[in-house]
């Protein structure tokens, strides 16, 4: 995997996780606490699955991209 493709995997993974995370406030507002906790755990599991399956794999091939993630988060707060 080349560096450009690895970064694309990371970028798309962050976007997918962001979408999942955006559900949390809606679920908190509209569900019972039990339902919310169940769904929030499901979202956390899904995000962790994306992270380990894609981000960790990309970083294993290109560890230097971790510092790029850190610097982009510090500068603009997101990965685009």
């Amino acid at each position: 995997m080349n560096s450009q493709l690895a970064w694309e995997m990371i970028r798309v993974s962050f976007r997918a996780s962001r979408e999942l995370q955006d559900l949390l406030p809606q679920l908190r507002d509209q569900c019972s606490p039990e339902e919310y906790k169940d769904c929030a755990h499901g979202i956390a599991r899904a995000i962790h699955g994306i992270n380990t399956a894609l981000i960790d794999k990309a970083l294993a091939s290109h560890p230097e991209l971790e510092s790029r993630i850190e610097s982009e988060l510090a500068e603009v707060g997101r990965i685009d």
């Binding site: 956390a44 995000i47 988060l73 707060g77």
Partner: protein, 131 residues
């Protein structure tokens, strides 16, 4: 000296050498564990949540409390995860999830990825992927 006595002596010496070798391995592992505990900031006298509570047995601070969206900080959670993992009590996946998912609930700018990245680091630390 009879052959059987010589054989027994040789055997005893070999057992003795074997014992010392194994003891050295155990000693080295104990030293290594000690270094890890020191590095992780392990404090054996730190209070724990009493038995009977849902979090019974887990380390706690002497003052204050945290909640999912307010004072919970990445450093506090990751440190706890590392400390528990380093102490040899491997956390299972569900417990790591319980520990780390409040990071996703912290208030943040709608377009920010900070919580997700912190959650990622927390899970990896908890599951010892990055230790």
């Amino acid at each position: 000296m009879k052959a059987s006595e010589a054989s027994w002596l040789v055997s005893a010496k070999l057992r003795n050498i074997n014992w010392h070798m194994r003891a050295a391995v155990v000693e080295e592992k104990l030293h290594k564990l000690g270094r890890v505990l020191v590095k992780a900031g392990f404090e054996p006298n730190q209070p724990r949540v009493p038995a009977g509570n849902p979090d019974g047995g887990q380390w706690t601070s002497t003052g204050g409390s945290s909640n999912a969206t307010g004072s919970t900080t990445l450093d506090k959670i990751v440190t706890l995860a590392r400390r528990i993992a380093s102490a040899g009590s491997l956390l299972d996946y569900q417990r790591c999830l319980d520990l780390c998912y409040p990071l996703l609930e912290r208030p943040q700018h709608p377009a920010s990825d900070g919580n997700m990245w912190d959650f990622h680091r927390c899970m990896n630390a908890c599951l010892k992927l990055n230790l």
